[in-house]
């Protein structure tokens, strides 16, 4: 079984989707501990994340890795009996595409990369009204809020969201990062965010810097 688990990690990390899902199925059928199996998936995802950070993998690999993780997760999770909801996380991040903007590819990739780096991510979706961010911050008390937007209209929507967070008295304890096709230093200053990122690795680095392990 030791060899097979190593093989599984390697297959996922090397993008061998069909083989990886088949092997995971065989291992579970043979009685392999589903919790341990998901641990191997996490190990593989860390390798995928490292390869992405190193410029070896790009968006298509992240997308496929996400699909493999979901397929294996769907097989393993129903077999898990113990409660794992109390598992320790690296921190909580609330993320969403700001009001008026319907784009979600960038946000989804950032969510995926944060999750495989151990963060609990509350994804509020697209076209998110300011009040949803406020309610979610009150409920989940995140360390970081990520505002995403592809269109230039997002600059104002980000600014309004950040102003509203401030007006609600919630700004002090959280860090806010913005991301999307056209953000830069000027937009960061304009919106009042703490930082901007151009890709998913920037988001992970910022969260790790702001939420020390």
């Amino acid at each position: 079984m030791e060899d097979r688990s190593k093989q599984l990690v390697q297959m996922i990390a090397d993008m061998q989707e069909e083989d990886a899902v088949k092997l995971a199925r065989e291992m579970l059928d043979a009685g392999y501990d589903p919790v341990k199996l998901l641990g191997h998936c996490r190990e593989a995802m860390e390798m995928v994340g490292k390869r992405y950070a190193a410029g070896e993998y790009f968006l298509p690999e992240l997308m496929l890795a996400g699909e493999m993780l979901k397929a294996i997760g769907d097989m393993a999770k129903p077999l898990i009996k113990q409660d794992t909801s109390g598992a320790k996380t690296a921190g909580t991040v609330i993320i969403g595409t700001v009001e008026g903007d319907l784009h979600d590819i960038g946000k989804n990739i950032v969510t995926f990369m944060l999750e495989i780096n151990g963060f609990k991510v509350i994804d509020l979706g697209i076209d998110v009204p300011v009040s949803n961010f406020i309610d979610s911050i009150r409920e989940h008390k995140p360390q970081v809020v990520g505002l995403s937007g592809f269109l230039t209209l997002a600059f104002d929507a980000m600014k309004q969201t950040i102003e509203a967070i401030k007006a609600a008295g919630l700004r002090e304890n959280i860090k806010i990062m913005i991301g999307g096709g056209q953000v830069d230093e000027t937009v960061k200053t304009y919106t009042g965010a703490d930082a901007f990122g151009l890709n998913a690795m920037d988001a992970v680095s910022l969260c790790k810097q702001w939420v020390p392990a």
Partner: protein, 399 residues
């Protein structure tokens, strides 16, 4: 033309490319810009007279299709005031799977049949009955005569009537657009976009498989995808060539979405994107056309590859690519266009804009082959004084 053919013009040339900014500049809303053809024409005329660019991209073709979309019950876009979207936002494309993976062969075997029977019914309610039309390759001789029956079916008849109504609406828009193009021509402003074209991978990813499907297909359906891309290299150019001919011009706008750094690996780019797109560019150039290729995002790492096109024929319009590196790589090959940042035009000051434009002229403008523009055209929310500063500055940049 001097800039495109890599000679020094008299001064730094500019092109006005805007979706909604010209409308907002005249006090219109996003929704009005999509619905009020005359109002948009007046707004465009005002912007042109105020800014005096050397060329422009017709704005009606970019935004004025609200009424036609209503008639068709169009589903690939959300637009201001339609369904859940507010009135003060631009229209947005809905990324989704419009062709299933098992339909690759259907498309490759008979693209027109696939578009008519499968694709169009998925993108607009009005087209749904088109799925009942005959498959003509197998309909011959007296069967052609008999096939007329399908056109008289109540639902097909309704679809055809709706399409005629949509066509009439589009003719109304086109008539006003043509009148504006003539008025601007009389004032000395030539259009610099006579038709639009695409990269094969963008067609596959944006319009057929959806972004998620296309990315997964690089692994799951690699051979099918490559076969489709090959077919698209042949299928894409005739549309642009015919449209440019009908418009009486030779400038083709080619917006790209998937070519940028970070989306694909260099190996994926040289397998799935560049070779097929290069073929499309060469076909357009052979037909006597000048492609203005909008390389969205940052494409700095692609420069060495994409310089391989005939000199003095293309314009590469860059969004975030390093213009200084682009100039080095493309000098003597390709005219470059861009790229005053959207953030500067929205949140900066006229002085910052002027300084940036001057810096671009002094470095990237060296020897000609450079057209000043915003990063993906003038952003909708740009401050008027910043846009005026950009176009005014170009007039002061004399060779």
């Amino acid at each position: 033309m001097d800039a495109i053919e890599l000679r020094e013009p008299d001064r730094l040339p500019t092109i006005l490319f805007s979706h909604f900014w010209v409308a907002l500049y005249s006090g219109m809303t996003f929704r009005q810009a999509m619905y009020d053809y005359e109002g948009l024409a007046a707004a465009m005329l005002k912007a042109m007279v105020d800014l005096e660019p050397d060329g422009y991209q017709p704005v009606h073709a970019a935004v004025a299709f609200g009424p036609t979309m209503d008639i068709l019950d169009y589903k690939q876009l959300e637009w201001p005031g339609h369904k859940g979207l507010a009135e003060d936002v631009p229209f947005q494309y809905l990324d989704a799977q419009y062709m299933a993976p098992e339909e690759y062969e259907d498309y490759v075997r008979d693209p027109t049949g696939f578009m008519l029977h499968k694709y169009m019914p998925r993108v607009a309610g009005a087209f749904e009955p088109l799925s009942q039309l005959p498959y003509y390759p197998g309909v011959l001789h007296t069967r052609i005569i008999q096939s007329m029956e399908s056109y008289a079916r109540p639902e097909v008849r309704r679809a055809l009537e709706t399409m005629i109504k949509a066509g009439e609406e589009m003719q109304k828009m086109r008539a006003i657009q043509s009148r504006l193009i003539q008025e601007l021509k009389d004032l000395g402003f030539p259009s610099t976009a006579h038709a639009t074209s695409h990269a094969p991978f963008d067609v596959a990813a944006d319009y057929l498989r959806g972004s998620k499907g296309a990315m997964l297909d690089l692994f799951r359906n690699k051979d099918r995808l490559l076969h489709l891309l090959d077919r698209l290299t042949v299928l894409i150019p005739p549309t642009a060539i015919e449209s440019a001919k009908a418009a009486g011009g030779n400038m083709i706008f080619v917006p790209l979405h998937w070519g940028l750094d970070g989306f694909m690996s260099p190996k994926q780019f040289t397998t799935f994107f560049w070779p097929q797109f290069q073929k499309v560019l060469l076909t357009l150039i052979e037909a006597g056309l000048h492609p203005h290729v909008l390389w969205e995002g940052d494409c700095t790492s692609r420069l060495d590859l994409i310089k391989d096109v005939p000199p003095g024929k293309c314009v590469y319009f860059f969004e975030r690519t390093d213009m200084f590196k682009a100039k080095e790589a493309l000098r003597g090959k390709v005219c470059i266009r861009g790229n005053v940042p959207a953030s500067m035009l929205i949140a900066g000051t006229p002085n910052e804009v002027r300084e940036h434009c001057k810096k671009l002229f002094d470095t990237v403008g060296d020897g000609g082959g450079f057209i000043l523009d915003a990063s993906v055209g003038v952003p909708d929310e740009a401050k008027p004084e910043n846009v005026l500063a950009m176009f005014q500055c170009a007039k002061e940049c004399v060779y």
